[in-house]
Symmetry: C2
Subunit: 397 residues, 2 copies
């Protein structure tokens, strides 16, 4: 993704449209191994409200959605592609979508032209609002399901931000045993959501606590604390000039470095040095992570971006990007900084090509890094669950 | 509230209708004392999405709601009372409500007859779905606002329930200093939501973490852990006969006593005895608390119900109610069990009279208890915030 071009093209709304144009995964809690069962006959999605059957997953991974609305004149269904729903004699509107790719998809109803969340769906903060979501099951998977392993906790940590003159809440995952092993200190991963989402994204849509529990229990990831803060911060006493720009990360970078990291180090048993600090995020959160991680090399030894590239678009920019961190590639490679770039193979247009081009630029310049592609998934949460699973295996070793 | 009568009359839907027919409070984070400012000119409610102005509170505490929907034919606004919204030339629909009582109110939009959450509102789990909410400010208040005091944390604790064969999540508030004062053990309050709500109700709508932080910091409440579990549990291998009955608490009582309490005592530094355990809840959660607390007198020394009475409707039932706990009133009073009954003075019909009658029955029988009325508030969250604040002052002293 090329920085300046991206600035012009992408807005939060556009990002949401892209998210919607993508893909879905159903969780079946099969305690005997926790694998997701194949869809052999239509079954309710796990993203229905409790006991609901408004989202039915069919064996071809199409989804049949129903809405009861006897008085309505026109109801549409927006899953990126907009479908007209058909009204039955009983006042129930129905649509069966095309077969969907596995994973989690945001969607909306459009009633009389008003785009609203489906009242029968669990809702998730995305697209700058509470959004409906449907999980299309990926048969045989289990790494993001709750399993019979020790469970960490997600904690809501409130703190006052002088810089923004506001209370912030960050979500903090602590691994199983944190409250028992009181002499143990832990490395920390800072993990960001995408544009239009917030700090609830990773625990809810991302199921990050299950992923970390399972990876740690399997010995594939080290025990670590994971900090999920909000990827927005409007500094007090700073007048923004011009329209809001979601690709200006000065505010959030300042808050994270000057307030969040010290708060976490003061309140949790961390190992407060660069070798034990990582930062990554998805989409917009990837941009944030490159920005913070690469301009604070003394603070982070592990820097990644899931479907969000560094803001470097050309050879010319390369030597001076991020305060010139790559001006001397050999010195950088000897600095033991781990870089991680990932994307989904089905991400549309620039989403894929931008990240892939960033990877190729790093490769061409000889900058050590790991590149990961999630096969068959788009610019959405299944890509990022897979990326977190993979990224976690490299950290703090 | 009279048990059997209530069974027939109240369903979750009816409860929600009642909730909707009630009242609203805006939070202004005034760090210099944290008092809510009076509404001297129209201002956005704190329940708007970030930077939103779709909910404007007027000085008379009426609310002006706006929805952009150029194509819509009919849009209504449901705050208990249903208002027709008026369409402006710009395609923006508007309504100004009657003046509202202070506090938090659920509401919905009705578009073409479909009842949906307002896409411009923060959403809250209530009425068995994500619901829009508006907070009407109560000038001069501060006890449920974040203040410059030490803050506890709310933790999401996952655990496997054998009885229901499902993963449960309970929210656990630990007071400030919990992770520092490692030799300290704490009493525990079990705190339940109402019908159609879930374990997110108290932290979100109820702002319980602010209330507890502030009350503890002021020395008015003891340091305690607060456990918020889900007030529903469908036991595995138990076939329900007849329609679902929200006033059958056998399942949830069994899970709380046999699984939740032991899990909490195993995972947190609790003082695991009756003198250091309390239980209360709102509305349906009050019924649950009386049921669990009074049938497990060895486990709880403090039992309360906020706007939810004991299921005792007559003199006849009194001696045998709750396994005959009041068969010998003098013995009960000597058992040092603290009982707490509360309601809001504006709760409609049986909501008020039922709880008040329960209080009077206890009084008539000579059962020691505290009775609290929240002045001018209805069957909704401001009543319950006030009740929690008051109840907390009696605990563990």
């Amino acid at each position: 993704m090329e920085g300046l071009k991206m600035k012009k093209i992408l807005t939060i709304a556009a990002l949401c449209a892209l998210l919607l144009s993508c893909s879905s995964k159903q969780v079946v809690y099969d305690i005997t191994g926790n694998k997701i069962a194949p869809v052999t006959e239509s079954r309710p999605a796990t993203t229905n409200l409790v006991n609901g059957q408004s989202q039915m997953i069919n064996p071809d991974l199409s989804v049949t959605f129903t809405v009861r609305a006897p008085e309505a004149e026109k109801v549409q269904f927006d899953l990126g592609k907009v479908y007209d729903m058909a009204k039955g004699e009983n006042g129930v509107w129905t649509v069966t979508t095309d077969p969907q790719v596995v994973g989690f998809h945001y969607y909306f109803l459009i009633i009389d032209g008003i785009r609203v969340a489906d009242p029968s769906s669990k809702l998730f903060y995305g697209c700058s609002m509470m959004s409906s979501g449907v999980e299309i099951p990926e048969a045989g998977e289990s790494y993001y399901l709750p399993q019979e392993v020790p469970h960490g906790e997600v904690r809501m940590q409130r703190y006052w931000s002088e810089l923004t003159q506001a209370w912030r809440i960050c979500y903090v995952y602590v691994p199983a045993g944190y409250d028992d092993n009181l002499k143990q200190s832990y490395p920390v991963l800072y993990l960001f959501h995408g544009g239009g989402e917030d700090e609830t994204g990773w625990p809810n849509q991302g199921m990050m606590n299950n992923i970390m529990d399972n990876m740690i229990a399997a010995g594939q990831a080290e025990e670590m604390i994971v900090v999920m803060d909000r990827g927005y911060a409007k500094l007090a006493n700073v007048t923004e000039s011009g329209p809001r720009n979601m690709f200006n990360f000065d505010g959030v970078s300042k808050v994270i470095m000057e307030e969040t990291v010290p708060m976490i180090d003061a309140n949790y048993r961390t190992i407060p040095d660069r070798k034990h600090r990582a930062i990554t995020g998805l989409s917009m959160g990837g941009f944030i992570s490159w920005n913070i991680g690469l301009t604070n090399p003394d603070a982070f030894a592990y820097v990644g971006g899931f479907s969000g590239s560094g803001q470097v678009r050309s050879d010319d920019q390369f030597p001076t990007a991020y305060n010139g961190i790559w001006a001397d590639v050999e010195a950088f490679n000897n600095s033991d900084t781990f870089l991680y770039v990932s994307t989904g193979t089905e991400e549309p247009g620039q989403m894929y090509t931008g990240v892939n081009a960033f990877h190729k630029l790093l490769e061409q310049k000889g900058v050590n890094h790991v590149y990961f592609e999630s096969q068959g998934t788009a610019h959405e949460w299944l890509t990022w669950r897979r990326a977190l699973k993979d990224f976690s295996t490299y950290l703090f070793k």
